[in-house]
Symmetry: D3
Subunit: 326 residues, 6 copies
């Protein structure tokens, strides 16, 4: 690594010292001017993703951008356009795709062992997990939303990836804010509660998504809810087999053989550090070879479209159609 | 009991002998002429519910009608009208409402212990449970539909009842037929498989229902699906507490007290025979006193409206709005 | 059924009355003279199997003979010869072959999913299960041996069947008599202990069997032993997968896919009555069609050869070779 | 410690520095010349055990030699002879004997609580545990064999020790090589797979051993096999009680008292470091007092004889007799 | 059986018919006049035990008397005196003593395996188990008390028996009535609640009993209490071993061997019918041989003394000393 | 912290260095002369608590004194008197009171949710846990007693606190010494056994305590006993609910609602360091504000009275009454 930039310049200098990085900048635009830099990793808060990534590509840098891609689909589309115009590599840092269990399930599904997946459910429901440490997570103008944009992005991305990235056609959704800024919420907060802070995002959301291939995908997310315990789950129901990927239980496959129902338990689990390392390796590979990254900007844009649609549907109380650009 | 009627007259006579019933008829209209009969129990296949119930009320009989109320909302509305015009008692045989655990949860919820229920999920998903015995279950013109109308009716009714019977506003849904008449389905069938029979109903359905109070209710049902095992579940998420009612686990309450998360397990389970006995007792009580039954025709009609909307949404791929008559 | 015979003539008559059988005989040879009888079921004690079965075939009857086929291989060979000479159907009543789980595992193995099975272990070890009811089980001249011939026959038959009936090449074995007729044994006996009775058979046996295809099969049986609890088990270790069939746990498959270890649990169990019914049905089918039964006399003979070899090896302390007739 | 030797001289010097050992040699013969050294610990690869140990004893040093004692019985006999001629202490580093649970079980057995042990089974079966780190484990000319000589030595030694070291009389065995150098084996390897390396040893072995006292001992070992999971087990079946020593479950005793079956669970487990410390202490004690070590060269030699016999039996397909020297 | 008597004469006649007993009386005194009767079984309510048993012995009959022996120690002493004067067999129907697990534990303890038992705890605590069926259980003048005299008698008898029947020296105790006749109690009642009935006995009692050998015994009983679930337990803590006898878990022994802590689980459970049959057999044996019964009148009397002392201590708030008659 | 004192002056100096404390003294009286010191923490062995605390208060210092308050009630009373005369803060270091689970249960009980607690049981029974490290724990003249004064103090304090600190009225108790200094005890000792050391205290104690409000409290403690495993438990049985606080299981509440029995599991556990930190904070708060500490000297004195009474009752075999000073 050659350079870091942070509006908090002291923090940038401290990081540079610790990681033995040569250059530290206050303004990321100065960094982008820097010739030695080939590629940029964008880890700024959500509301800055689009601007920084576009500036970087226009300054002839490759970009690995943290999730969510952008605050909304409009921003995401501008990023896609910038990528097309500049020809630089734009990859989304969706590290879960590189997990061993996810790769195993992808291979399983692509080998046709599940048949056609016609119904899928995914979700990340927390009983008590409002991110209370920094403050910007719970402020819509900085984050773009609550658990939907924080953890829902991972769920949607993996679900669509494992289903073969079908396009969304229409969405209905509901979002609710029931715990934010309430006294009783103190036991619901991860880290230090900050009751004076702004909390204008949802704490629970649910959506029903119709896909172009006729399949249905549902999504459930919450930071706080009166449920048994935290659950992270994917259920894919296919004509030949079903697959579940759950925290605490890993992957299970439900199918039949010789007309006998059969449960399969692959002994695969994952290591988050290993997954991130694989993600870096893949980004470097794409930068070097010019190959299309596994996590394309188009896929990220469709996730932003779905999120936009869920928020809109919740507000209007009506279904929202999603159009695919030619 | 005084009289029975069955188009299969021999069966009617046999039943009459076994249960020591005095009169047996081939045509139910003859039975309805019979003066000694005050009240009629309608247990004919779904496609006959409306006609028989209306005829009975018009013949001055009280009616306890098996679920689903009717094949569709239009029929159900005719039944509501007939009830209003005749003034007879028309009660739906939704026996699950009379279960001790359901009554306990109703009391719990009505005491305000769950706060406002803003999100609820219910479902009855079977891995291998196509009703293969009689044949009419899988023929749409006789049954009106598949698991949605067979077991989904119970789920919707209990969920709405425990939420305080809010009116539905809009519905999206998907239905799928993936196992019917396939060879591989043989291991999915309860009782004797009948592969020559008609199978023109769904085997899996899912729906997203928006309610007038802003709450969301989702429904999942299947007769056959590649999932772990049969699950019957209700999850009510409220601002003060959440409640789960599940096969295998019974009722669990998730709440907090003095800012500590708290799990509550009431030691209540149910006996199906006891629930049915309570239902009969309640029907007789309503007939005698003229009281409104716990399971009103209006509630049954709204369930038929939701079912109609799910089928329509699945066919059109669009949201369906539900209107409430003045 | 047309006729029964029992040296205890009163018992024969009683049975005939209960099962509404027309004819009862004291001497089975009288029954064999009887023209109306086409097929005979031989359920006499072990030491009479060969004689009765041969007499029956020579009297032009088909025979379904209880396990073990005979007291030893010499007798079994005489039965094979008689079958060949008379051309009658001679089937062994090895009911376990007709179990649904066994048939599933056979299909699994024949589909090549386990690869080559090179090592297999089977056993039926009881902690406390000496058959103490009748008396003849524990007397060698009547039974031919102890648990080896009582329950070991089932284990060997299923193991060889599921391995594809490879021929045995050599055997070493040990048999022990440690509990018989001892006072302490009282708690080891099923039914009523009979300490005055003869106990001259083994109560534990173990053997190592080398097969013609290079595979190894081991066998463990006991009626009484200081072990944790009764265990009935088959373990087949193949190049592509392994299968375990155990009491309490049913079938498990251990294999790998995409280089990930995978455990498979088929949801199959069995019903002993169903298995026996299948066995009768198969016998009648073979009698009618002249087809070779699933459980051939040759297979039964090889099991008797293995049992003979185990007893001989235990006595001499040396390996015993098994020859296959041309 | 005074001196270390390693053909990789740099490694020897590094070790000497780390452990603050004064002298480091390239050639162990130089170390053996060293007067200050009284006793030598032999931890070289298997194929060098015999030569180094004999040289050491002839150089008037006491020897603690790693397991297996030697590549084969011939080498082991030469070591026994050298020990007798030199009178030095020659002890085998079988650390498991010094475990608290093993010592407890030895005391239990010697107190007569199990009666006569007539049947014993031991094994160490791994589903995925090929030692892939160094390379010499899988090369016969360096290691002498696969899991039989790697982990089977521990099993045989403990089993015979706990049975009172009866002499073996005859052996049959089978060894198989099914996973070595295969692609699919990658998931079976501990550490880094080295598919180019030599793999000419077995990966599974089984044996049936007849002992002089009439008892039978069986052995199962594997580095890779399609089984449920790794199992390390000893089962001793005695006339008064049975004992099991298993990974995951520790020691269990099965017996009876006042004619009631009784399970006993001693709360003893072991600490590998403690066991090794006890082993060093015992070696020093023997060196100082001249006492016979707990793990004698004769016992090690008999284990080598059994291993030789298993390999020979597997190759010839015949039983191998073992003779005891006068 | 020859004759029955019941103040409800119709019931007596009905019973006589059903059990084919020749004679039925209204007044038990008429039965006692009857020459053919040798022995009498006293199963009348508690308040009649003493009178009937004494009358019977004075009428020259042997007596098997239901537990508790009497309403109080004074009555019990009169029974002891009557037995001594008449020389008839007087046995208490404490059926639990004849259970196989109790006999096993008695043998275990008498063999000295527990050493000296210095502290014992016993109890039968029910969360919801008020005997509501008949009514006389909850009326002090008929029953003598609540759970103390109903189920506490069994606990005290077994505990003292297994400790070797040491004499009690002093007692403190507390009894409480918290659920009787309260509305909330409806869920606490076995059978049909009878809220109009008299409830003037305790529903929970606890006591601390000092024994002549220095040991301490504590007792806990309840019919209703806010505890987890019903527990029936005996814990004997001895110098060499401890024993627990619990519902759901049976017998466990906690001891040590070779300085290792050891848990022992005997596989013994009991069959209530078997225990009662053993009790009858023992009574007949005592009647025939004149032997002292296992459950002597003196032991029953001491239990009544302890119960008296607990009630008195609870009332006075002071310790009560128990004297042993010379 | 300003100063430390220790009769082992070197230890005091070492501690001062490590904790960066300015002053170190050999004689605590020198420390008490020191003006800068406002408050003193007394952590000397039990037999010195009273003297040091009184001296400190008389030297105008506030005192936080380790448990048990004193060797006996007489000493404790002198401490109470000194506190009253000097007006200094005297707080007992009963850290368990400050645990989150204890505070939760206290709030629960004070909110009236358990109703009236009429029966409570508490105990800390160890199977093998004699504190063998220092030596003074097992010597009565230094410690005042065994497990009763070591761990029983915590049990009594929490039990009485959670019951609302009712005054004790009378006590019976038994103490036993069965394992001290015995060879077999080696496996019962925590840390290093010291068989030459003095062991003149009890190793098991049990007591029955009658409280002024009519409730009963029992206590069980042991350092060594033949039981299943270590158990730390509190059971509070109240008229509206019962509460259990157990090691391994945490808090459970047993109650009823709408006549249905209900089990409640609050998700609260504790962190010992957090509890101690809360205790320091509370002490500083009391010192600064002059507020009465949560753990008052009077409460500590009553615990000493109960302990005195248990020892006396065990010695005399008689109940001991406890008087409350005016």
């Amino acid at each position: 690594m050659t350079a870091v930039a942070d509006v908090a310049y002291q923090a940038a200098k401290k990081l540079a010292r610790e990681w033995q990085v040569e250059h530290a900048f206050e303004d990321y635009r100065d960094l982008l001017q820097f010739k030695e830099v080939d590629a940029v990793l964008v880890t700024v808060p959500n509301f800055l993703h689009a601007q920084v990534a576009i500036d970087a590509m226009e300054a002839d840098k490759h970009v690995l951008c943290e999730k969510p891609m952008a605050m909304n689909a409009a921003e995401a589309e501008r990023m896609v356009t910038a990528q097309k115009e500049t020809g630089k590599t734009l990859m989304l840092a969706l590290n879960n795709r590189f997990r061993r269990d996810v790769q195993y399930l992808k291979a399983y599904s692509e080998a046709g062992e599940l048949g056609e997946i016609y119904y899928a459910k995914c979700g990340w429901m927390r009983r008590a997990g409002i991110p209370g440490w920094g403050g910007w997570f719970t402020t819509r103008s900085l984050s773009g939303g609550g658990p939907l944009i924080d953890i829902g992005v991972h769920m949607l991305d993996l679900a669509l990836y494992l289903m073969g990235n079908p396009k969304p056609v229409s969405v209905v959704g509901s979002t609710y804010t029931k715990f934010g800024n309430k006294d009783q919420a103190s036991s619901r907060v991860l880290g230090i509660a900050n009751p004076q802070g702004i909390f204008d995002v949802e704490d629970l959301a649910t959506a029903f998504i119709r896909l172009e291939n006729g399949a249905t995908l549902t999504l459930d997310v919450s930071w706080a809810a009166n449920i048994e315990k935290e659950k992270v789950f994917f259920n894919f129901i296919g004509t030949k087999g079903g697959a579940a990927l759950e925290n605490e239980r890993g992957i299970s496959i439900y199918t039949e053989k010789f007309t006998i129902l059969e449960d399969i338990h692959p002994q695969v689990n994952f290591d988050d550090v290993e997954a991130r390392t694989e993600m870096w390796r893949h980004f470097l590979h794409c930068v070097r070879t010019g190959e299309q990254p596994l996590t394309t900007p188009e896929q990220g844009m469709f996730i932003n479209k779905i999120l936009d649609a869920i928020y809109e549907s919740s507000q209007t109380g009506r279904e929202v159609l999603i159009t695919t650009p030619e």
